[in-house]
C-alpha cells in the first residue's frame, strides 16, 4: 500500500542502469506490483469474497455436526466441495494464500513508510517556497505583534507545531500523528495475526458433558473429552492436570419458558492446592490457572437402576441430550451391556444385554402422546422409554454414538423391543422376564468447553493499538505553514515596521484548514485588524 501523502520531495531520478539482470528485474517488478495499493485493494476484496462461503456452508471448525448433515443431504456435491476446502474455508490453502499475500504486501509497504516517516520526524520542516501567495492559504500581516521570526516561532510552538527558523523564515509542520497512527494501525494488524497464530499453535480446547456427582468427576486428560482439538505444538501430555466435579446446577426460567439465569457450582481440584468450590455461568467463565471453563449448555441425566433376573443391580446416569426444543425435551439411552451375567458361572450371555431408549420430558403434558416437554424446568418429569433385549453390537468394534442404540442391531433382529412405558420418578417397571427398572430421579449435567488460548493478551493489546492508530490516521491532519518576515522597506506606508507574509498548505484533506490558518495569523498579528487576506481557501 503505497503512501497516500505527496512526498516532501521527489528523489532525484536515478541514472538508468544498463544491463539489468532479467530475473532481478522480474523480481523487483513483481515486488512493486505486490506492494502497490491497487494489488492490496484487490487482495482485500478477494479476502472479503473468500470469507463468504465460510458463512454459507457449515464449517468443521464451527459446527462439525452440520457438516456431516450437509454431506448426507448433498452426497454428490459435498465431496467435491470438500476437496477444495469449502468446509474449512478459514484454514484452506486459498484463504491462507490471500492473507499471506496481503500481509506480505502490507509489510512491503510499511517498512519503507516507517523509514520515510522516521526520516521526516528527524528532519526540520522544509524551507518556505519562494512565492507564498501561490499556496492555498496566504496572508500578509502588517505590523504584527510578533514581528521577528523567534516571536512567531514561539506562537507556533505554543500551539504544538514543529517549528524551525531559517534566517527571516519560519517553517512549521503539524499532524505527524496521521502517519504515525497509520503505521501503528498496520503494524497492529500484523500483531493481531501473530496473536491468532500463537493461539492456534499453542492453544487447545475440548468439550464434554459433566454430570453432577462425585462419581462423575472429570480430570483433564485427552481421553476424558468427547471432542478435543490440540494445536500443532501441543501434545496430549502437555494438558495441565486438574479435576472438576459438578456439585450443583441451578437454572431459573420465566413463565414463558425463557431462561433467565444459569449457575453452575463445581469443586475444583488443582495440583498444589486443596479442593475448592467455585461458581460460574454463561458470560462469566471459571478461570483456572491453566485453562478457562465455559458453560455452554445444560440438561438432565435420568438415573436408572436396572435389576436383572439374577437380582444384580446396575445404575446408569448417562445424560439425555436436548433435541433442540426450547422446552428441553431430551432423548437418550441407558445401556446395560453387563446385564444378566450369571453370578454362579460368571459367563456373559451376549444376547441377553439390555438397553432402554426414549425421551425425557422435564414437564410432561396431561395426556399421551408424551413426546414433547411443556416447560424446561422439572415440574412434572416423566420418562417415555422403550426397552430392548439382545445383542447391543458393542463388541463388533464399530464406533457408534453413545447417545443412540445401534440401529443395525435392531434392524437385523439381534436386538428386540420388549415393551414401552411412561415412568415417573420413583416408579419401577417390571419387564416380561421379571427384571425391573427403577427411575430413581435425575441429575443435572452441564456441557462444558475447556480452553487454553495463549496469545490472547497479545490480541487484546494489538486490538487496542490498532484502534488508536486507526483514529490517528483518520482524524489527524498533516499541514504546513510558513512565515516570512521582510525588513521594513524604505518609504513603506507602514512607517518602518516589518511586513510578515504567511502561507499555509494542507497536505491531506482538511476542510477546517482555512479557519485554523486564519486563527494562526490572527495570533501572530496579535489579533490586529490590519491583516489582509489575499486569498481565501477552498472553502
Amino acid at each position: 500500500m503505497t503512501s497516500v501523502d505527496d512526498r516532501p520531495a521527489t528523489p532525484p531520478a536515478e541514472a538508468p542502469r544498463r544491463r539489468v539482470n532479467p530475473v532481478l528485474a522480474l523480481l523487483r517488478n513483481s515486488w512493486r506490483q505486490l506492494t502497490s495499493m491497487r494489488t492490496a485493494l484487490i487482495l482485500l476484496f478477494l479476502l472479503a469474497i473468500a470469507a463468504i462461503p465460510g458463512s454459507v456452508l457449515p464449517q468443521r471448525g464451527v459446527n462439525p455436526e452440520n457438516v456431516d448433515k450437509w454431506f448426507v443431504d448433498h452426497p454428490d456435491l459435498a465431496p467435491r466441495l470438500d476437496q477444495i476446502g469449502m468446509f474449512g474455508v478459514f484454514g484452506s490453502v486459498w484463504f491462507s494464500a490471500i492473507y499471506v499475500l496481503l500481509f506480505t504486501s502490507l509489510i512491503g509497504c510499511i517498512l519503507p513508510r516507517t523509514r520515510d516517516h522516521v526520516r521526516a520526524l528527524r528532519m526540520r520542516p522544509p524551507a518556505a517556497p519562494k512565492r507564498l501567495e501561490r499556496l492555498p492559504q496566504h496572508a500578509v500581516l502588517e505590523a504584527p505583534a510578533a514581528a521577528d521570526p523567534t516571536a512567531i516561532a514561539a506562537v507556533l510552538r505554543r500551539r504544538r507545531w514543529r517549528v524551525t527558523v531559517r534566517g527571516n523564515e519560519v517553517s512549521a509542520e503539524k499532524g505527524y500523528l496521521k502517519e504515525t497512527g497509520n503505521l501503528l494501525f498496520h503494524t497492529s494488524l500484523i500483531a493481531v495475526l501473530l496473536g491468532v497464530a500463537v493461539g492456534s499453535w499453542y492453544g487447545w480446547h475440548g468439550n464434554r458433558i459433566l454430570v453432577a456427582g462425585a462419581d462423575n468427576a472429570f480430570c483433564n486428560t485427552r481421553q476424558q473429552y468427547a471432542e478435543a482439538s490440540l494445536g500443532p505444538r501441543v501434545d496430549s501430555a502437555d494438558l495441565p492436570p486438574f479435576c472438576l466435579t459438578l456439585e450443583k446446577f441451578e437454572a431459573d426460567y420465566l413463565d414463558s419458558g425463557q431462561a433467565s439465569r444459569f449457575w453452575a457450582t463445581v469443586s475444583v481440584d488443582e495440583p498444589g492446592g486443596t479442593p475448592r468450590t467455585a461458581g460460574f455461568s454463561v458470560n462469566s467463565p471459571l478461570r483456572l490457572d491453566a485453562a478457562n471453563v465455559y458453560l455452554l449448555g445444560n440438561g438432565y441425566a435420568p438415573v436408572l437402576k436396572y435389576t436383572d433376573r439374577f437380582g444384580t443391580s446396575q445404575t446408569s446416569d448417562d445424560p439425555f441430550l436436548r433435541t433442540g426444543d426450547p422446552n428441553a425435551t431430551e432423548e437418550g439411552v441407558a445401556v446395560f451391556p453387563d446385564a444378566n451375567v450369571d453370578p454362579k458361572t460368571g459367563t456373559r450371555a451376549p444376547d441377553q444385554q439390555v438397553a432402554f431408549d426414549g425421551l425425557y420430558l422435564p414437564t410432561a403434558g396431561d395426556r399421551a402422546p408424551y413426546v414433547a416437554s411443556q416447560f424446561p424446568a422439572e415440574r412434572n418429569p416423566a420418562l417415555n422409554l422403550t426397552a430392548y433385549r439382545g445383542n447391543l453390537g458393542l463388541d463388533a468394534g464399530i464406533p457408534g454414538s453413545v447417545y443412540q442404540l445401534d440401529q443395525r442391531q435392531v434392524d437385523n433382529g439381534k436386538l428386540k423391543q420388549v415393551g414401552t412405558k411412561l415412568l415417573r420418578p420413583g416408579e419401577t417397571w417390571t419387564l416380561d422376564d421379571g427384571s425391573t427398572l427403577e427411575f430413581v430421579g435425575t441429575r443435572p449435567y452441564v456441557t462444558l468447553a475447556i480452553r487454553h488460548a495463549p496469545g490472547q493478551t497479545l490480541l487484546l493489546v494489538a486490538s487496542g493499538t490498532l484502534l488508536l492508530g486507526l483514529m490517528g490516521s483518520l482524524f489527524a491532519r498533516r499541514r504546513r505553514v510558513w512565515f516570512r518576515v521582510s525588513p521594513p522597506a524604505g518609504g513603506s506606508p507602514t512607517g518602518g515596521s516589518s511586513l510578515v507574509e504567511a502561507g499555509g498548505l494542507p497536505r491531506t484533506e482538511h476542510p477546517g484548514f482555512a479557519d485554523e490558518f486564519a486563527q494562526l495569523v490572527a495570533a501572530v498579528s496579535g489579533g490586529g485588524p490590519e491583516q489582509r487576506r489575499a486569498r481565501e481557501g477552498d472553502e
Partner: protein
C-alpha cells in the same frame, strides 16, 4: 408502555412519510439554486439551499422569469417544512425507543426489531446534525426519509416481537458496550450510504448522463459535497465499528470461550470491516476514481444489510437473538 411505544413507532413512520412527501414537493418545485442570484428575496433562499459552496458566483442570466422565482421560494419552504417534520419524526422515534426500553426494563436492543428501531434513530439523529451544520445538503432528506419509512415499516410488519427480558446469554455489561457501539456505527453507516448513492447519481448527472437513475440527481446538491459527507460519515463510523467488533470479541471470549470463531455473524462483520477498510484506502488513493471508491462504500453497506437480514433469516449461528424464528 409497550403499547405506547408501538403507537409512537406508527406515528413516527407517518411523520417520516409526510416529511418525504414534503421533500418530494421541494424536488418537484424546481431548482432553487439558479434563482438564488436573480431573486431579491435572497435571504430566504440563502438560508436554505443557497449556501452551496461556489454556486452563488455562477453567472446567471440577469433577467429571470418570475414564475420559477416564486416556485423556488415555495420549494425552499417545502424543504424547510420537510426538515422540521423529520425532526418531529425523530423525536417521536426517540420516544418509541425510550418507552420500549422502559417497558422492557432494560436497554431496548434485545432483538432484531429493537435493533432496527435504534439503528434508524441513530441514522436520523446524525442526519439532523449534518443538516444543522450543512443546510445546503437538505435535499438529501428525500432519500433519507425514504430509507426510514422502508426500514421502519419493515421492522413493524415483519420483525415485531413482544417485549421480553434478556436471555441469560445477553446478560452482561458487554451487551451494552458491544451492542450500543454496533448500533451507533450501523446508524452512521446507514446515513453514509444515502449521500454515497446520491453522489453516484449526481456525479453521473454532472458528467452529462441523462438516463434514468441520473435524472433523479438533477436537483441534488453538488457532487463534491455529497462525496465529502460520504467520506466523513464513513471515517467517523469505521473506528466505532472496529471498536464494536473488538468489544464483541472480548465478550465472545467470556461467553463462548473464544474471541473469534467464524460464526456467520462474525464472518460477515469481518467482510464488512474489510470492505469498509477497502473504501477508506481507495478514497485515500489518488489513482482510484472517486466513484469507484464510493461504490465500495455502497457494497460495504450491502454487506451490513446481509449481516442483519441475511444472517438472521438464513443462517444459524450463535448470534440468534433476532426473535423472528
Amino acid at each position: 408502555m409497550s403499547a405506547l411505544s408501538d403507537q409512537l413507532v406508527t406515528f413516527a413512520i407517518l411523520t417520516y412519510l409526510i416529511a418525504m412527501i414534503s421533500h418530494a414537493v421541494e424536488f418537484a418545485l424546481g431548482n432553487a439554486r439558479k434563482v438564488a442570484v436573480a431573486t431579491p428575496a435572497r435571504e430566504l433562499v440563502g438560508a436554505g439551499v443557497g449556501s452551496t459552496g461556489g454556486t452563488v458566483d455562477e453567472p446567471v442570466a440577469p433577467v429571470a422569469p418570475p414564475r420559477p422565482d416564486r416556485s423556488a421560494a415555495r420549494a425552499a419552504l417545502a424543504g424547510r417544512i420537510a426538515a422540521w417534520l423529520t425532526a418531529l419524526a425523530a423525536a417521536l422515534h426517540l420516544g418509541a425507543v425510550v418507552t420500549r426500553g422502559i417497558a422492557a426494563e432494560r436497554m431496548p436492543w434485545g432483538n432484531m426489531y429493537e435493533f432496527v428501531l435504534t439503528v434508524t434513530w441513530i441514522g436520523v439523529a446524525a442526519w439532523l446534525v449534518v443538516l444543522w451544520k450543512q443546510p445546503s445538503l437538505r435535499r438529501l432528506g428525500l432519500f433519507l426519509t425514504l430509507v426510514m419509512v422502508l426500514l421502519l415499516a419493515f421492522a413493524e410488519l415483519k420483525l415485531y416481537v413482544q417485549v421480553v427480558p434478556l436471555m441469560p446469554a445477553l446478560q452482561s455489561y458487554w451487551f451494552i458496550i458491544h451492542v450500543s457501539t454496533i448500533i451507533f456505527a450501523s446508524g452512521i453507516f446507514l446515513l453514509g450510504v444515502v449521500p454515497a448513492a446520491a453522489y453516484l447519481m449526481r456525479a453521473g448527472w454532472e458528467q452529462g448522463r441523462r438516463s434514468f437513475p441520473y435524472t433523479l440527481a438533477r436537483r441534488l446538491p453538488a457532487a463534491a459535497g455529497l462525496e465529502r459527507l460520504t467520506f466523513t460519515t464513513h471515517a467517523f463510523a469505521f473506528p466505532i465499528f472496529t471498536f464494536a467488533v473488538i468489544a464483541g470479541a472480548i465478550w465472545a471470549e467470556a461467553a463462548w470461550g473464544r474471541a473469534w470463531g467464524w460464526d456467520p455473524k462474525e464472518t460477515w462483520a469481518f467482510i464488512s470491516w474489510v470492505v469498509y477498510a477497502g473504501y477508506l484506502h481507495a478514497r485515500a488513493t489518488p489513482s482510484v476514481k472517486r466513484n469507484v471508491a464510493t461504490w465500495i462504500a455502497v457494497v460495504g453497506f450491502l454487506t451490513m444489510l446481509m449481516n442483519l437480514f441475511g444472517v438472521n433469516f438464513f443462517f444459524t449461528g450463535l448470534h440468534s437473538y433476532a426473535g423472528v424464528n
